[in-house]
Homo-oligomer: 302 residues x 2
């Protein structure tokens, strides 16, 4: 009988009707509790640090992430363990949040919330999104979803990928593209090529007053360079991810005007549950029929 | 020669190259300054109160509003003056703001701004927009734009108009429709039929925790009933318009949790200028060729 370790009782309850006859147990890697062997599939806690994988040491099997990002996973994966990411679970929610951040900053929602606390009705013109030039860096699942959500808002969209193909420009063209954009959205995975992509030179190349939106991973942006650029009034920023994360209480990003920080809300909506359920069910069926798992990103047969 | 009175020097400067040979003067109705006759067309200040029309007393001609809404205009229009509203100027911006408000409330942007002020990283799951049921009341220009902007977000949209036609439900069906909606967006003109539309009974019929979004006019919502419903934790609200407006500094709506108030930002973006210019230029051409003006809403030949 297939044994699946699930990080929460809620997930176990949701999956039980779909996986009758299997042994579904609750265990969260990284909780400090010992892993209850045997197990065929381990679903990791949502947004667990990669170091949680150390709890799988000595076991052989398949680990399923609940995130799309898998930075740091290969480095922490014990030998004999394969790992899959959660493709198709968070793309739409993250794009929805990217639009929420863009619209909030272009229409002054952040300022309105601050003014409301002081009971101040402060009407002033805002730039808006219509007619603005958006540079979207990242053409993976999240990037494509953001492009789709931007469509009705009549912005001028330019896409940037690792390499140029069709209408997609290459990262190497950024120095030429950045000065033309009113809004720059970063939606790339974190890896050696993207770590520190948004550095002092990147920020200097941006248009004065332009908006930087980061919905990927914190270390894609050089935090110190960003703080300096915002302090100089050079750029505005909306960040769902930060470096460090969580941001410590006294960090300057919390209180700089023209900065909006959300606490890594990207993928975490009510829409997530059904999509995670679907992946786990599919992985169990594939294990049972000896088919390769979906979305293998580290270890195993890769 | 055609004489046009414009409320700001900026508007005069923008229009001058497009209207050579005409007499373009700066005068703002409601400023207290006497109207400098003669004039063929008067453009009113953006968001001037309808009482500003009193300054046209004794004159005969065409007055151009810079707003789409024209509530109170007919009541204040002096005899002999016709009045046109600004169709096509604000619909896209207002829809953009409606999406900004919906996404902000569904994804916790308002809460994040409040937490940031205290340096608090407070991650929690949010409902999101995808999969939610949206009831959109109003199928005029703004309503149609909101529907278009909602399209990529995979919400279940129900449209409500004065009367049923095709997929559009009638206002009379609201008691049945309200309990099913997660988000209720009001985008109707203010008139005798819509004043106080969102009253205690309307709010009671809404789903517990549902979101009310008002981007039309403040008096469409009974403010006292809304404050009571929010205090009871019955509904959440995002309001770009209020009654009274501006909201006084000590008003409870400013500080109630689950309420987001923006200071009537709906139509006021950088995209507005070019659209207003286009209308004024067209009205001048129509006056000069004795064609009826565009978008006549009160007085004159109507």
């Amino acid at each position: 009988v297939t044994t699946v370790l699930l990080p929460t009782a809620g997930l176990r309850e949701r999956l039980a009707p779909h996986l009758p006859g299997r042994d579904l147990r609750v265990w969260a890697a990284g909780s400090g509790e010992r892993m209850p062997w045997p197990a065929d599939l381990v679903v990791l806690p949502y947004m667990a640090p990669p170091s949680a994988l150390r709890a799988l040491e000595g076991w052989r099997g398949l680990a399923q992430l609940q995130t799309l990002g898998y930075d740091g996973i290969a480095e922490h994966l014990p030998p004999g363990v394969s790992c899959c990411n959660a493709v198709g679970v968070h793309e739409a929610s993250t794009a929805e949040l990217a639009l929420a951040l863009i619209l909030a900053m272009q229409r002054g929602i952040d300022g309105a919330v601050r003014s409301a606390a002081a009971g101040r009705w402060e009407h002033r013109r805002r730039p808006g999104l219509a007619g603005s030039r958006v540079l979207l860096i990242g053409v993976g699942g999240v990037g494509r979803e953001i492009a789709r959500c931007l469509d009705p808002f009549d912005a001028e969209l330019t896409l940037v990928g690792r390499t140029a193909r069709g209408a997609v420009k290459a990262t190497a063209e950024l120095p030429r593209l950045l000065p033309e954009a009113d809004i720059v959205v970063v939606a790339v995975p974190l890896d050696t090529a993207t770590r520190g992509l948004v550095d002092a030179a990147f920020l200097t190349a941006m248009r004065p007053g332009a908006l930087l939106v980061n919905v990927s991973r914190g270390p894609v942006v050089d935090t110190e360079a960003l703080v300096a650029a915002v302090r100089q009034g050079k750029v505005r920023a909306a960040l769902d991810v930060t470096d460090p994360e969580p941001l410590p209480p006294d960090h300057p990003l919390w209180t700089l005007p023209d900065v909006l920080v959300t606490p890594h809300l990207g993928g975490d909506t009510d829409a997530m549950d059904a999509r995670i359920d679907r992946i786990v069910i599919e992985q169990v069926r594939r294990l049972e029929s000896c088919r390769p798992p979906l979305h293998l990103v580290a270890g195993g047969g890769r």
